[in-house]
């Protein structure tokens, strides 16, 4: 996997980023007095995009399907909520490292337990651990039970007396989240193109061979697991700031399922795909919720259709548009074309490995 994509990908992502970043300019013109509400929604999409990207590292790059990733998302939210002082804002300077540290430790402990499982076991155990934390938080007193915990003050980002970024202001918070998203994106981009990323590719492709070569694959998987967890926790922290509360649903498996859906809508293994997926999911959710109270049926059907018809997601469409493939159908066999170096990691070439 070269993780290098046709130029149009960069172009499209650049345009979309510019569009989003310029929202304060055109928001009012398009949405009128709904603009503020839309800004909040947009901010949420940025946060969920970060969440989805972190899962892509696990699912798309390494090939570890986790159904408990919301564990980290909720962990970030709750760390923020519980560590925030009651009567004054926390400082981002220690809140962010705290969130990262806590999630890294939890990720390490859980990772050591789950990395030893493979395939379907991994799916089941991550799901189970996610639920364990969910039940623990829901039934505990100190964490507010099923009601959750309110966040009275958003953390501040200040240098001494001067506020660097006013996180209470919806616009600056919006840009702060955009900044975090971009940071996360470039970090993952660098990671996947590095030698470490190559090892992860090798593990995804043929773990047995990697071990026969001498690689300690479990160690690499664990590191990826922890990194993904930390990024998800950061997203959770931002989400808690956006919502104003942390609640157990953020830990539950339905959230884990949702972020997985964003992955398939957007396209796995591409890092930029999940960003598109998060946006697509939220937009669809908005449309469906306004169409009917029974919107879960629509969402469920959408996912089913996506799996059957569009497994490579939106990113797949951008990277290898159907009309491109028709033009090149002569020299290549139809489906073999998808195994070109730019291919997404969605489907393994070898038969499904079971244990």
């Amino acid at each position: 996997m070269l993780h290098r994509y046709p130029k149009r990908v960069a172009l499209i992502m650049l345009m979309l980023t510019a569009l989003v970043a310029a929202f304060p300019l055109w928001g009012e013109a398009v949405f009128g007095n709904q603009a503020n509400f839309m800004l909040e929604k947009l901010t949420l999409m940025l946060i969920l995009a970060l969440f989805a990207m972190s899962l892509d590292l696990l699912v798309g790059i390494v090939g570890l399907v986790s159904l408990g990733h919301a564990l980290f998302f909720g962990l970030g939210a709750y760390t923020l909520a519980l560590a925030s002082p009651d009567f004054s804002p926390a400082s981002m300077w220690w809140m962010l490292p705290l969130v990262m540290g806590v999630s890294a430790c939890v990720g390490l402990v859980i990772g050591i337990l789950v990395i030893r499982t493979k395939g379907i076991f991994f799916i089941m155990t991550t799901l189970a651990f996610g639920q364990m934390l969910y039940y623990f938080i829901s039934t505990s007193q100190f964490a507010g039970g099923t009601d959750g915990v309110f966040i009275m003050f958003r953390p501040s980002l200040a240098l001494g007396e001067r506020t660097l970024v006013d996180l209470d202001n919806p616009y600056s918070f919006f840009y702060f989240c955009l900044g975090m998203l971009l940071l996360g994106y470039f970090f993952l981009r660098w990671l996947t193109r590095s030698y470490f990323g190559q090892v992860l590719d090798g593990i995804h492709d043929n773990e047995h061979r990697m071990q026969a070569l001498g690689y300690a694959t479990s160690g690499y998987k664990l590191v990826a697991f922890v990194i993904a967890g930390v990024m998800a926790a950061i997203a959770g922290m931002l989400a808690a700031m956006q919502y104003g509360f942390a609640n157990p649903a953020q830990l539950g498996w339905h959230t884990s399922g949702e972020v997985l859906m964003m992955l398939i809508l957007g396209g796995m293994g591409t890092i930029f795909g999940p960003i598109l997926g998060a946006f697509a999911y939220e937009i669809l959710l908005y449309i469906y919720e306004h169409a009917t109270t029974h919107w879960p049926i629509l969402m469920g059907l959408t996912i089913i259709v996506a799996v059957l018809v569009l497994p490579r997601g939106i990113a797949g469409l951008i990277i290898a548009p159907p009309w491109h493939r028709k033009r090149q159908a002569a020299p290549e066999a139809a489906s073999e074309h998808e195994k070109a170096p730019v291919a997404l990691s969605a489907q393994p070439a070898t038969p499904r490995k079971e244990n």
Partner: protein, 286 residues
């Protein structure tokens, strides 16, 4: 606690465990043989319970309701299998997870549309709606004993089929090596459909007979699904024996956990799972 109380909990734990076994055995069979992870498995349990509720209302008789519900559940399973799972046999687990997750959303919401969001109850049916005096100071629900009996009987049937029939050997062989089984001239497609139908039937049936014992509410499939996952992780994929003992362990742990350490009760099964994973990552009976 006194002996009577302990005995009641023991029996409850056993009954819950046996019920879990029915559901988990379907899950582990479907995964072990077909290689498909079916998240919608829990929804089948829910459908069984709701069908029991609905048809008991319509037909006025619990037993008739079950008789009518079983073919409906099997038919539903067959539809799902033909429509969707066909394409999933050769694909990644990831796609199976996603597609069946989508199915859960659809089925859960369909349940809401048909039966609404209220909680329902089904009365314990005659002639089992009584308690029986087991010892001097121990009374126990006859229906629960009945449920245990039925589950044990089914467990026995499954065991017998697996050990002593041709189908059983094919199933066990298929769990180990699907291509070989195909090479032996067995129609794998039909086998899969059969297995899936059996799995669905067992689960839906479990939901039906469990109906008088629990509240029938939206989302009941989700929680039982996760518990079954824990059972299968502890017992080992594809192992019926593992599903059996895993279910008993979980049944006991949940029941006793709820009375002994109520604050940690919901976490107990996950702690057990973590412990098993540390020692035997592939399950106790892999």
């Amino acid at each position: 606690m006194d002996l009577a109380f302990f005995s009641v909990q023991l029996l409850n734990g056993l009954q819950y465990g046996l019920l879990l076994f029915l559901i988990a055995s379907g899950l582990t069979l479907i995964f072990g043989i077909m290689g498909i992870i079916n998240l919608a498995h829990g929804a089948m349990y829910m459908i069984g319970a709701y069908l029991a509720y609905d048809l008991t209302l319509r037909l006025g008789n619990f037993w008739l309701a079950i008789l009518a519900a079983i073919p409906i559940a099997i038919a539903l399973g067959l539809i799902i299998e033909r429509l969707f799972l066909d394409t999933l046999y050769k694909r990644d687990h990831l796609y199976q997870v996603l597609l069946t997750f989508g199915l859960i959303l659809v089925l859960n919401e369909a349940q809401r549309i048909i039966w609404g969001g209220d909680v329902h109850r089904v009365a314990v049916p005659a002639p089992f709606d009584a308690s029986i005096q087991l010892t001097d100071n121990l009374q126990y629900s006859v229906y629960r004993l009945f449920v245990m009996g039925v589950c044990l009987a089914l467990a026995g049937v499954i065991y017998w089929v697996m050990r002593h029939t041709r189908l059983g050997i094919i199933i066990r062989a298929g769990a180990v090596n699907r291509d070989m089984v195909e090479g032996l001239g067995i129609n794998v497609r039909t086998l899969f459909t059969l297995i899936f139908s059996i799995g669905v039937a067992l689960t839906a049936f479990a939901g039906m007979i469990a109906a008088p014992l629990t509240s029938i509410a939206p989302g009941m499939g989700d929680s039982i699904l996760i518990t079954c996952f824990v059972v299968v992780v502890i017992g080992g994929i594809g192992s019926i024996k593992g599903a059996f003992w895993g279910a008993i362990i979980i049944g006991m742990a949940t029941t006793f956990g709820a009375v002994l350490i109520p604050s940690l009760a919901s976490m107990v099964i996950y702690l057990i799972m973590a412990a098993v994973l540390l020692v035997k990552p592939r399950g106790l009976f892999a």
